[in-house]
Symmetry: C3
Subunit: 141 residues, 3 copies
């Protein structure tokens, strides 16, 4: 078995949910060398998260943003951590709900995702900037 | 170290939370060969999720379903992705809240779960059908 | 590649969100031997969870507790699993929202976390007691 590790950057995105499968794959061509294994993608930030969801209809991403804004609203009276803006504390909570990593099986040099699955970046800040990901692939070549 | 990978199918389940530890184990006897490692179970769908929770009292699963329905209701005025039925968009969001994979330590050929832990399938569609899982075991034999 | 596995205990904590990076690291000095890899930390309980979030301002942890109590309230009329106290069923749901494990990249013998990231224990019971974690490290030395 072998391991491969690499830090990559996602370009800055506006607040919302974004399909980033292609952007991640274009920066990790080393994946093709692995016959079987898993790819661990970890986001090195606390106000953006990663998850896996529908890769087709873009309104799914819109509805995620609408519902997350309702489920974790800004300006709640009990928030104490408010100095960095009204989008900051909700961004931390949303990031924890999605999680900081996704792990995807690799089969014959490709991500073994379902037909309708893609990797989402949940960008929860109004101006989050570029986001750093650590990719760790473990498997057999 | 060695790696083992297999696709398995869970039988169709009604909407709700289901304990599937035994169904998964019965389809992955290869687990017994691993002395130490981890089992990654990945669901290849975007409207059902996996998590780990209480394996004893079945009302825990009922309460999960009731609360998820409250936390992510159907027919919200801001949903745009509505063509596939009122249960569809909430199913995507619920799936992301649970997550698409669980990773469980393996010790001496068995899942090293706590006494009260089991694997849950969160089936969020009214008629989700059979669900495909990819199991990847990494460890030493 | 090599694998290392160990069960560790976190000291009992009061209900709320706690930064436990240092406590975990102090009990897993074996991490330093791994050049590249991942650390899987798994909690063997169903009413406490693990996540990764901000390691600096402690009010972030306070706001997590306040918001989780609002998002998953006690004493909902639809809860059936109530025998173990009003904090019990919400604790199960909160644990599933956070997740039962975190996986963190290891680079040059250290957790490769972002500057502001730390490991949180979400202790959702009023009197949860000590919590058992299984740590599995996979990588190259």
């Amino acid at each position: 078995m072998e391991i491969f590790q690499k830090e990559i950057n996602l370009s800055a995105k506006e607040r919302g949910f974004h399909l980033v499968t292609r952007e991640i794959l274009s920066k990790t061509p080393e994946l093709e060398d692995f016959k079987f294994g898993t790819m661990h993608v970890f986001i090195k930030h606390t106000s953006a998260g990663l998850t896996i969801n529908e890769n087709a209809d873009p309104t799914v991403r819109d509805d995620f943003e609408s519902h997350f804004n309702k489920m974790v609203p800004e300006n709640q009276p009990y928030y104490k951590h408010t100095l960095e803006g009204s989008d900051d504390m909700p961004a931390h909570i949303k990031a924890a709900l999605l999680g900081s990593s996704v792990i995807i099986p690799i089969t014959h040099g490709e991500l073994n995702l379902g037909t309708w699955q893609g990797i989402y970046l949940g960008e929860h800040r109004n101006h989050g900037g570029s986001r750093k990901l650590m990719v760790t692939i473990t498997g057999v070549k």
